[in-house]
Symmetry: C2
Subunit: 413 residues, 2 copies
């Protein structure tokens, strides 16, 4: 873990209420490092629905394979997450480790192994010694308590510099329901392939198929619109759990995803996803600037997304922002290489509201001193107007600093 | 320009003979920096054929547009290259600057402006003051001499740390013909979009259409198989000039690209392209390691290329190599994110001949000390065997160091 907290971190971890039907516990199982919590158990009441979005990597981790198979049934009794070892590229040992972890948890809880969801994050290619969970699982189950979100968020961190949590409430029928989520991010994060590790819990009574559609829609402009380095983990996992406990207080069971009564819940759910995704960008490895890239005037949203991602993943754009240099020439380069419709002579570019290029030329009012001052801000809003159509999109990233290289140049050692 | 020469630089600039029909001159026109040569003139005898491969950027520079239009005629009398300013994203001023440069050169030489080829490299978005060429052009024409390759290579450098040249000879009919090329690279370099700036000259009598087909085929496994940072310049330009002067000594004029008598020339031509492309990788910004990535056992060459490029452009792989860490887990990640057919449990990975992963698992004979020693070498051969098919491909890249961030964090200032 990095020694210093990202300068872009929120002032503090949010106040997050308990979610009825969810109890949390953490332990130090010594998976990789001694003396830090590295296991999270989330105990879920019987009847909890589960949905998930998993990495599109062609070489997924063993826990990703495990979750993909278990999602079909749509029901969960517990989530077990470990940090320190990703259990990826571990072959038969990896599959056996997931099975053993689920068996240990199921035995301690008194449920079926198939009701256990798993996630692992950390080093790839090292065998995971799942027997280590045996020594801590009974204690985790016995000690699980509602509302321990910050401990939970801390237990799943790897190179993250701060724990990430977000919460929201929404009316659903006669009751107010609660949504709480945690996430871990830092490096190896890119879009269009699901996400990093994130777990969202609610007491709303939502059937698995509806929860799945909420999640699939929700990631598009949140987790899938964040990139740190264009690299996609073998382990990206976003799971949502709905215990249904609020039904007892009058929360409505919704049968169709299109039911308008679901709208407030959907909005609150997406706010939580967006908040967590932004925190992941704010904790990009070595990040000193949060960069919000907006592309407008595109011929389609897909085209705007591709251009925004081309800018967000350009090492030359990211290093320029690290250097507080409004190098819009590199933005032109990144627009040009995206392969999407673009007309050099219609392009306009803004940094933090200051137009630096207008219709293919340096802005006539360009004032280097004014732009330089704007580039010293911790949040940089980079806007590109293509002048071709009416579609827009927005993605988040961070700058590329020497600290990124330092963190990743000796992560394993 | 960087103060220190890349540790991967060749020991010295090669001995390069004159090419009959080509004379070279350089000057300091003060385009951006005072006191360094920043203009190259290559004077070409009447009847010289020209072919070119240009950036696929949707926002190309004005000189790229100029060359694309002039290539149709296939004839050239001169090449004018400047460093310091890319004349990209400069609107009408940019188009006028190319026209003015060509006019100035054509007047001094006594030819048509359409016979002048242009390339510019340096900062994007700053107006190029082409009038500066007026003061140096007559002197360049008067002083042009055969064989001044090293001066020429030096004049087109930007953040390059050493001048790049390569040469070869081949038999063509009754005569030996000569091929000499120069290049500049460093950053903003990615494949599948033509190349950085490179100019190749020969005295062979090759018609424009045949020269074009030689060039288009030649770049595939040379310049298009090199990536520094995945960023593609608005200015990438590779031009080949064939003066035909060797015809007087008995070199054969070839009418078809498929003529077997062209084979020795084609091989020599591709050797020059490959040599220049490797030098570009050896001078990647901040590079301390040359990385050769070979992917074999793929279902097609295209698939192998995509996987190799996914590895080559992964910041996590590149920073690991900078840290001399054989982090094959990140190689698995990069294979997985490429979106191409891959089977985790068939993957094997080698670093400098040492197998570190075998069929989806850490190699049973894995010896950390031995692998660590191998990672200290300046050249890293990273091989991935997919175990799916019979196709292979190879690309070159370099590591990602703190120096890359430093160079690009304040390039403009």
């Amino acid at each position: 873990m990095a020694a210093t907290v990202s300068p872009l971190a929120p002032a503090r971890f949010p106040d997050m209420p308990a979610v009825a039907g969810v109890r949390l516990a953490t332990a130090a199982a010594g998976i990789r490092y001694a003396g830090r919590t590295d296991v999270l158990l989330a105990l879920l009441d019987p009847g909890t629905s589960v949905a998930g979005v998993l990495t599109r990597s062609k070489c997924p981790s063993a826990p990703v394979d495990w979750c993909r198979a278990r999602l079909k049934a749509g029901k969960a009794r517990a989530l077990v997450v470990n940090s320190g070892n990703a259990n990826a590229f571990t072959g038969r040992n990896g599959r056996e480790a997931t099975k053993l972890t689920a068996d240990i948890a199921a035995k301690a809880i008194g449920c079926k192994p198939g009701d256990i969801f798993l996630a692992s994050t950390g080093v790839i290619g090292e065998p995971l010694k799942a027997a280590a969970f045996d020594g801590v699982m009974d204690g985790l189950v016995a000690g699980a308590l509602p509302g321990r979100w910050q401990d939970a968020a801390r237990a799943i961190m790897t190179t993250d510099t701060f724990p990430k949590g977000a919460t929201a409430t929404a009316r659903l029928g006669k009751a107010e329901v609660t949504i709480c989520g945690i996430a871990k991010g830092a490096g190896m994060i890119a879009p269009d392939m699901a996400t990093m590790l994130s777990f969202v819990f609610t007491d709303a009574p939502i059937a698995p198929a509806i929860l799945q559609s909420l999640l699939a829609r929700g990631v598009t402009d949140t987790f899938n619109a964040v990139t740190i380095d264009g690299d996609t983990s073998t382990s990206d996992t976003l799971l949502a759990f709905a215990t249904g406990a609020a039904a007892a207080r009058g929360a409505q069971r919704i049968a169709r995803a299109s039911d308008p009564r679901l709208a407030p819940f959907r909005a609150a759910f997406e706010r939580v996803l967006a908040d967590l995704a932004e925190q992941v960008a704010r904790d990009g490895e070595g990040a000193r600037k949060l960069v919000e890239i907006t592309v407008e005037g595109a011929t389609s949203k897909t085209s705007a997304r591709r251009i925004a991602m081309s800018i967000a993943n350009s090492p030359l754009v990211k290093t320029a922002i690290a250097g507080e240099d409004a190098n819009w020439g590199r933005v032109v380069m990144a627009v040009g290489k995206a392969g999407e419709p673009a007309d050099r002579d219609r392009l306009s570019i803004w940094f933090n509201g200051i137009r630096v290029a207008h219709r293919g030329l340096r802005d006539p009012a360009y004032d280097e001193a004014k732009v330089s001052a704007a580039m010293k801000q911790p949040v940089i809003a980079l806007k590109v107007a293509l002048g071709l159509g009416r579609s827009r999109d927005r993605v988040l990233t961070c700058d590329l600093t020497k600290e990124y290289v330092a963190i990743n140049g000796d992560y394993r050692s």
